[in-house]
Chain length 365, copies 4
C-alpha cells in the first residue's frame, strides 16, 4: 500500500450542520495523529473538476466546530460522470469529465479523498473508486437520516431540535386561538424528522411518507380531541407525506392548475382539507431551509468529529470504497455500495411508532 502523505476532503450535496466539525476533525487528526497534510476541495466535486484546491492547516479550522455551513462550500450539480455543458446551439449537454478529476488529484498529489455527503455524493465517490481506482473514503451526511450504513447521521439531531422548538412555539399559539396548526418539516422520502419532532413536540397527528394517510382518520383524531375539550390540534407533516391511494397533489394539479393544493405543498393540502371537514380554523407553516442552518447540536458535533477522525483512520488503513458509520457505540466502515443500496425508512411497526400510537398519536393510516 502506498504511503499516505496528503488527503483531500470535499463536502457535497445539501448543507448540513456538522460539516465544519467533520472538516476540523479530518484536518486536525490527520496532522496531529498521522502527520499527514490536508487539502480542501472547494464546492464538492466541482473543485475536483475545476482544480479548486487549497491547503488546510490548523488555523484554517480553528473556531469552526460550532459553526453551521461548510468552509469548503458545496454543490448539488457537479457529477463528473454527467457534467452539464452548453453546446454550440446553447442547449445543455452532459459529458463525462472524470478524467479531469484524476488530473486534479494527481496534480495536487492527493493520496486519498474523503467525500462528505449523502446518497448522491457517495454514489459518485463509489463510481470514481470502482471505475478509476480513486482512493475514496465516505462520510455519511444527511439531515433526513435516511442513509444506510449508519444508525444515524449528523445534522439530524440539529434539524430535529429546530423542528421541535418550532412545534413548541406553534403549540402555544394554536391553543390561544383554538386552531389546528399544520407544520411541514423536511423528509421527502423518509419521515424521520416528522416522526421524532412529532413525538418530541407532542403532535396529535404525524404524517410520514412511509404511512399513507386517510383524511377521515385525521379528522377523527381532531374531533376526538374536541370532544375532550381540546379545541386545538397540531399536525406534523413530512414534505413527502401522501394520502392513501396515490399522490393526490400531482393528480389534482393536472386537472386544475389553480388548485389550492399546489400553493403550499402537502401542508396546505392537509390544512385545507382539515378545515373543510372539521370546521376548525387551520393555519400551516413550512419550516424549510431554516432546518439546515445554524450551529450543530452537541450530539451532532460529537458524531461529526468522530466520523472525521475515523475517516482519516480508514484512509490510513487503506479502506477505500468504504464509508464510516455509527453502529451501536462504535464507528465502523461499510462498503459504500452496500450503504447506498437500501435507504433507511421508518417502519410502521417500529418501537417509536408504536409508542406514539399508545399515547394516542394518529398517523392517519
Amino acid at each position: 500500500m502506498k504511503k499516505i502523505k496528503r488527503i483531500g476532503v470535499l463536502t457535497g450535496g445539501g448543507d448540513c450542520p456538522g460539516l465544519n466539525a467533520v472538516i476540523r476533525a479530518v484536518v486536525t487528526s490527520a496532522l496531529r495523529e498521522y502527520n499527514v497534510e490536508c487539502y480542501g476541495i472547494l464546492d464538492g466535486f466541482s473543485g475536483l473538476i475545476n482544480k479548486r484546491v487549497k491547503k488546510l492547516d490548523l488555523n484554517d479550522v480553528s473556531g469552526i466546530l460550532p459553526r453551521g455551513g461548510t468552509i469548503l462550500g458545496t454543490s448539488n450539480r457537479d457529477n463528473p460522470f454527467k457534467y452539464p455543458f452548453k453546446n454550440d446551439k446553447g442547449e445543455i449537454e452532459y459529458k463525462d469529465v472524470s478524467d479531469q478529476v484524476i488530473r486534479t488529484i494527481e496534480y495536487n498529489e492527493l493520496d486519498a479523498i474523503i467525500t462528505v455527503g449523502g446518497d448522491g455524493t457517495q454514489s459518485i465517490a463509489n463510481l470514481l473508486h470502482s471505475t478509476h481506482n480513486i482512493p475514496v473514503v465516505g462520510v455519511p451526511k444527511t439531515i433526513d437520516n435516511d442513509l444506510g450504513g449508519t444508525d444515524v447521521t449528523f445534522g439530524f439531531d440539529t434539524a430535529l431540535t429546530i423542528a421541535t422548538l418550532s412545534i413548541d412555539k406553534l403549540h402555544s399559539t394554536a391553543e390561544a386561538h383554538h386552531r389546528v396548526m399544520v407544520i411541514e418539516v423536511m423528509g421527502r422520502y423518509a419521515g424521520w424528522i416528522a416522526l421524532h419532532s412529532g413525538v418530541a413536540g407532542g403532535g396529535d397527528v404525524i404524517l410520514i411518507p412511509e404511512i399513507p394517510f386517510k383524511m377521515d382518520k385525521i379528522a377523527e383524531k381532531i374531533k376526538e380531541r374536541e370532544n375532550r375539550g381540546k379545541r386545538f390540534s397540531l399536525i406534523v407533516v413530512a414534505e413527502g407525506a401522501k394520502p392513501e391511494g396515490g399522490d393526490v397533489i400531482v393528480a389534482r394539479k393536472v386537472h386544475d392548475p389553480n388548485d389550492p393544493i399546489r400553493l403550499g405543498g402537502i401542508s396546505q393540502f392537509v390544512g385545507n382539507q382539515v378545515e373543510d371537514i372539521t370546521g376548525i380554523e387551520t393555519r400551516y407553516t413550512i419550516l424549510g431551509h431554516v432546518q439546515r442552518g445554524g450551529s450543530p447540536s452537541p450530539l451532532d458535533r460529537i458524531l461529526a468529529t468522530r466520523f472525521g477522525y475515523h475517516a482519516v483512520k480508514a484512509v490510513m488503513e487503506g479502506k477505500f470504497g468504504h464509508m464510516v458509520g455509527l453502529r451501536g457505540e462504535n464507528i465502523k466502515t461499510t462498503p459504500i455500495s452496500e450503504a447506498t443500496a437500501v435507504p433507511r425508512r421508518v417502519k410502521r411497526d417500529s418501537d417509536l411508532v408504536k409508542t406514539a400510537n399508545a399515547l394516542g398519536t394518529s398517523f392517519g393510516g
Copy 2:
C-alpha cells in the same frame, strides 16, 4: 367615581408573546396593591357576548410569566357591534349584540374591563366606552409594532429575535451553497420586523411596505456582492412589501391564475425574479406563525408586566377610554381614539434606515 372592586380582563386579536405576563401582572397587582378581584373573560369579546367569565386568583397566574399564548384564549371574529349569525336561509348576517356585553358585565359586577389587544380590539373597546359608557382601559399588543400611543409593543422583541435567529441559520446555508436566500417575515402594513431583523441579521437587501422596491435595484446589490467575491446574499422581506408602481402580486394574479407569484407570496415573487435576473440559485422561506409563538423575551416580559400593572393603576384612577403605552422611560396613558388614529410606520429617513444604508444595505428603492 365608583369604587373599583372587580376588574375584568380579556385578550383579543392575534396571539402574541407576553399576553400571559400582562394577565399575571393585572391579577397580581390588583390583588396585592389594591385588594381588587380579577375576572378573566374567555376568548376575547366572545366571552363578554357569551357569558364566559371566571375568577382569577394568584394560583391561576402562578408560573405563566414565561409562557407563550394566553390562558384566557383569544379570538379574531367577535366584534359585538357586528357579530356573525346564520339566518334561517343559512346565510351569514351580522347583528349588534353589544347589549349582551353590558349584561355580562353587570351580571358579574365588573367595575372595569382591561382589553389587551391591537388596533381592532382597541377600536371595539373604545366604541363600547363611547357608546355604552363601559369603563375600559386598553393595553396595546401587536408583534408588528405598528400601533400608535406607545414607542414599542410587547411581542415585537420576541418576534424580532425569532426572525433574526432564523436569518442567522439561513446565512450559513446560503454561504455554503452560494445561493440567494429570501426570508419572509411578518408585517403586512409596517416593516418594523423586517427592518430590525434585517439589520440585526446582516441582510443585504431589506424590503418593507413603506419603501416600494425596484427589481433592478435588488439585482444590482446582489451583483455588487458577486463582484466582491460574495457568491451569496440574503434578502429579508416583509409580507406586505411591494414593487414600485402597484401591487404586482394582485395585478398578475388576475391575468394568470397559475402564476408562480401566488404560490408563496411576495418572497417567492422576489426569489423567482432574482433568479431570473442574476442567474444565481435562489430559495425562499416563510417564517409564519412561528414568529408569534413561544416564550416571550425578557424585554417583552418586562414591558408586558409594566403594562399590566399600569393598566390596573389607570383603572383605579378612572382613566377609562385610555390605553397605556411606553413613552421614553415611562408608562403613560393616551386616549384610545388617539392611539388608534395613526398607525406607526417606518420612515424612509429614520435613523435605522439611514444607518443600514450607510452600511451598504439596499432597500430596493
Copy 3:
C-alpha cells in the same frame, strides 16, 4: 398474576429534564392502551410514607411534555428503610417505616409502582420489592448518565446541551481576553458530561474523575497552544475530577482551612494552579443547577416518553423488580439489582477519549 387496575408513579432524587415527559407517557399510555388508572405519589418516597397520593388523568398531564421539573415533586431524603425522626432529646434518629409504604399502597389499591429515579431511588425500590414484595418497575434517571442497565439516560442530552452552549459563550470571551477559562460541569463520579461537552465545545483540556490529572500536563498543553499563537485555552472539568495521587482538595483542606482550593471547588484549584504555572490570567465558572433545569431536549423527551410507555408495558407483563433501559435501538428490561450493581464509567480507551486525544485534547493524564 393479579389484574392491574391502578398504577402509582413517583419521581425521586435530583431533578432532571424529562421527568414530566415520563409521567405524561405513563398516564397517557396506561389509560389509552390498557385502560388502567394512574396515581401520582408526591415528593418521591415521602408521598408513600406520608400518604400523599392523587389521581392523574389526561388533563393533568396535558402540556407538561416540554416542561422541566416534575409535577409530582421529588425528594432526596426519604428512604423508608431509614427515615429521619427527631427523638425526645431533639436528636435525629432513623427508623424503618416501610410498613407505612405498604399501607399507602394498599389503601389506594395500587397494583404496581413505577419509580423514576437514579441509583438511590432504584435501590430502595428494589428493596421494597425483595423484602415486601411490592410490585415495582424502575425508570432510570440521572443527568450524569452513570447508571447501568441502559445505554443512556434522559436528562443527559439536555445537560450536555446547556454545558456546551455555556462553553461556546466562554470561548469568545476567553479569546477576546487571552485568558484561560475553566468551566466546572456536573459529574461527581463519572465524567460523561465533561467528556461530551468538552468534545462538543472544543475544550483544550478535559478533566474527569476516571483519569486523574497532573498539573504539568495541563500546563504543557496550554503552553503548546501559546507557542502556536493561541493565547487562550478552555478547560472543562467535572466536579469530581482529581489530581493523580489522591484527592488533593480533601488532603490540603485538613492542613490549611483557609486554602483557596475550598473556595470554588476543583475548578478554582485548577484555575489557580494554571495561573501560577503559566502566568496566563485565568477565570473559572461553576455551572451548577442550571444544568438540571429547563425544557428537555427533543432527544430526552423522546427517550423519556419511550421509557414511560415501556414501564407501563413492563407493569402489565408483570416484570416487577426490573428497570427499563435503552439497549441499542430497543427498550429492554433488566433486574434492578443488576442495573445498580455496576455504575457506568468513562473508559480511558473508549472511542471518544481516543478521538479527543487524536484531535489534540489533553486529559491531563
Copy 4:
C-alpha cells in the same frame, strides 16, 4: 479641520456581546459612506503602546456581526498613563508611556481613534484627548448598563437574556425540590441586570447594591410564600448587593478566615442565612462569565451597529472628546467627561422597582 483619511478603532475593558458589531459598522460605514480607511488596534490601549495595528477591510469584518468577543482583542491593564513595568529589583512600577501612543498614531497616520469601552477606557481616552489633543470619539460599552451619557448600553440585553433564561431553568428545579434557589448575576455597583432579570424571571426576592437588604425581610417573603403553599422561592442577587449597615462579607472575613461566607460570595451568604432562618433547603448558582459571552441579542446588534456608524459620523464632524449614546429614539453625542461623571444607578422609586413591588417582589429593604 483636518481631513479624515484614516480612523483607528480599539476595544478596551471587559468583553461584551456586540463589540464585533461595532467594529463591523465602523469599518463598513467609514469605507462605504465616507471612503475612509480603518485600522484595528489590538488588545485595547496595549496596541497603541506596543504598535500593534492592522488595516481592516470589508472582508475582515464579514460575518462577525452575530459573533461574541472582539476580533481586535481587549485588555484590562493597559493604561498608558500608568503602565506597569518591572524595575531592576523585579518590583512593579508604573510609568507614563502616553508618548508611545502618540508615536503609534502618527506612524500609522491615524486621524482619529474610536475607543469602544466602559468607564475606564473612556476616562483614559478623554485624558489622551485633553492632555495630548488626540482626536478620540467614544462608544459606550458595559454589560452592567451603568454608564452615563446613554439610556442603555449594548451587551446589557444579551446579559439580561442569559440571566433570565438561567432563572427560568432554576425555577423548574426549585419547584421540583421545594428549595430556595439563589442566583448571583453581574453588577458590582449597579443592580440593572438583577432588577431586570429578576422581574423578567419572576424572582420572589431581588437584591441590588442600591437597596441594602435585611435578612429578616427576605425570610418574611419566603415564609409568606410558604403560607400560601409555595414551597420554593427564587432570589436574584447582584454580586454587589449588601446587607444594611455595612458590608458583612468583609467584616466577617476578618474575624474568621474559615467563614463560609467567603466561599461563594454574596449568593452563598444569603443562601446560608436563608436556610438557617427558614429551615428550607437552599442552593446557590453564580452565573459568572457566561453572561459576557456568546452571540449578541438582536437588540444589542442593532444598538452596536448604530453606535458604530454614529461614531464614524462624529469623527467626520470633528466631535472629538465626545461619546455617542442612545437618547430616546436618537443617537446623540455627549462630552466624555460628562458621560463618565455620574454613573447610572437604579433608583428606589423608579417605575420598575415600584412595579415589582406592586407584584409582591421583595427587595429586602
